[in-house]
Amino acid sequence: MDYDTYAPLASWFEATWVGDQMRNIFWLFPLMETIHFCGLTVMFGSLLVIDVRVVGFGRFINMDAALKFIPIAIGAFLVNLITGIAFLCADPFRYFPNIAFQWKLGLIVIAGLNALWFWFGEHDVLKQLADGEDAEFRAKVIAGLSIAIWVGVIIFGRMIPYVEY
């Protein structure tokens, strides 16, 4: 990304109160990182329950009950969004031009659209699914994509420190 494109936005993030705290309190960044990692596992686990059921591998997981993991996934996502923004404020000029960070954000947007497709296109039908019954093909594709995209998000996130500029 071109420096002039992200510089104004990056400067804004850098000047925030959160950015100041993240840079000045030495234990805050590691603390946020541990929270980000714990959030990641809770979110991935919740999605795993739903996606494994829909894909069919976990066909005997009760679908209606599996869908109860949606609010947990959203909650964990919010935790990671907040801690993620805190990292961004700490050092925006490092993150914005970082190719792994850009891919990570792009994949999160795609995962979000995929989730909306799931919610508006499949959720109500799936709710009625009996134990052991196969979901329709389209739902399986969405669930498979969900796992693949989030694995990608984890990989690109972990790559951020290694692809500096």
């Binding site: 590691p30 990182e33 541990t34 990692f37 714990c38 990641l40 596992t41 809770v42 991935f44 686990g45 919740s46 999605l47 795993l48 329950v49 494994v52 591998f57 976990g58 005997f60 997981i61 009760n62 209606d64 009950a65 599996a66 109860k68 993991f69 947990i72 134990d131 989030w150 694995v151 984890i154 990989i155 996130g157 972990r158 790559m159 290694y162 692809v163």
Partner: protein, 149 residues
């Protein structure tokens, strides 16, 4: 100590230290494996704690298999990462604590699964389950802090 030095000087140790992409790729798979094991641990324990009761604990068996896949993935990637600087990691408090947490968490996961299938009272299951999830999160936290402590 001799073994640790041997490990550090092994071709695997040299590879993980010196190859440009070796370390980040193995580290990324360690993160994916972590999400998989932990994801399953979290889901099973949420259920054991009484959330999403509509799911039969037995139906979760398939998820348990996935958990093992993640665990083995991390055992392998973890051993490779360990070869990076075994003489440091072995004596590092956060690493020792991490391994202890994982062992305790693993044992408790087994205890939780057994007690769910058996006649254990619901309250006792919840105690086991809370401890189990705490140990596993302890493993994640101390693992992440290895970069700092």
């Amino acid at each position: 100590m001799g073994f640790l030095i041997w490990l550090e000087e092994s071709s695997l140790g040299i590879f993980i230290r010196e190859s440009l992409w070796g370390y980040p790729i193995v580290l990324s798979s360690h993160a994916v494996g972590m999400a998989t094991v932990m994801g399953v641990v979290v889901a099973l324990n949420f259920r054991a704690l009484g959330y999403a009761k509509g799911i039969s604990m037995l139906a979760f068996d398939k998820l348990f298999i996935i958990g093992w896949v993640g665990f083995i993935m991390n055992l392998i990637s973890g051993l490779i990462l360990f070869c990076n600087t075994p003489t440091t990691y072995f004596f590092q408090g956060s690493f020792q604590l991490k391994i202890a947490f994982i062992v305790a968490g693993g044992i408790l996961m087994k205890v939780v699964m057994n007690s769910v299938r058996g006649e254990t009272s619901e309250n006792l299951i919840k105690v086991f389950s809370t401890a189990c999830i705490a140990f596993w999160f302890g493993g994640v936290i101390t693992g992440r802090l290895m970069a700092y402590l």
